[in-house]
């Protein structure tokens, strides 16, 4: 599967709550950030957890989020960020 995003692109994490082994933390679903880097392509953990092949591999990104966007009551430097690995099928 080819990479749809490049560093610097604005992305949003899908706000979805499927069952299963999901490596997208709940707290970041629905939030917007910026692609920091493409990490490569890796087996889809949701498939691997079901003992399936994990193919096709999914591009994995590191996405940077502003803390003040994620936590409305965040106190601290407004430049503080969170960087999280997110698979492409969770980004839009």
């Amino acid at each position: 599967m080819s990479a749809r995003f490049k560093p610097g692109d604005r992305v949003r994490v899908r706000k979805a709550y499927p069952l299963g082994h999901i490596r997208t933390p709940f707290y970041i679903r629905g939030h917007g950030g910026v692609v920091e880097r493409l990490c490569g392509a890796f087996g889809n953990p949701e498939e691997l957890a079901q003992m399936r092949s994990g193919e096709p591999k999914q591009p994995l990104y590191r996405v940077r989020f502003l803390q003040t966007d994620v936590w409305p009551a965040y106190r601290g430097n407004p430049g503080d960020v969170l960087e999280i690995e997110i698979f492409q099928h969770w980004l839009e």
């Binding site: 933390p25 430049g79 960020v81």
Partner: protein, 203 residues
Amino acid sequence: MKDSGDYQPYSYFQLMEVSLRELLVEKGIVTEAQVASAVEDIRNITPERGARVVAKAWVDKDFRTRLLKDGTSACEELGLDIPALKLVVVENTAAVHNMIVCTLCSCYPRMLLGMPPEWYKSRNYRSRAVREPRAVLSEFGLHLNEKTIIRVHDSTADMRYLVLPMRPASTADWGEDQLASIVTRDCMIGVATPRAPRAVKPS
């Protein structure tokens, strides 16, 4: 903690481990000796490995550049085999402080730091590091300047993270081994910074 010697029944996970191990041994899939030696290998990895990488990056600019670009292959140069691990090294500067957490479980660069400490796996650290990092750091005794930007890295998938701390200014004439001696595990997780002992004046 005082060891009173009281009998404690196995916890759920301890019981699972014993049952699975005994079954594997009974079926001849592994031997007790193989299990013991695998556990020994895991225990033998200590944060000194990571400290070697950091010290090398402090004295060798080109290595530092390669390490930040591709942590895995830079570690391989040092003869550190880190299989199935994609290492991302994040650099602390005067303006930016990095810290590592895994909110989903306890992903940790074990090949460089060994077993994670208990607190790293605790619900407290995992839930708070991403939403109030400054408060968490101050509980570790690390009080950052308000102007310092904090980058929290949540290792949610296939990457593992190592913080490259700042080299203390007073260590300008130190060699690699001496430098490695002040790089602690917590410095490489990003909940502490290296401290050079006050210079001893030659008599």
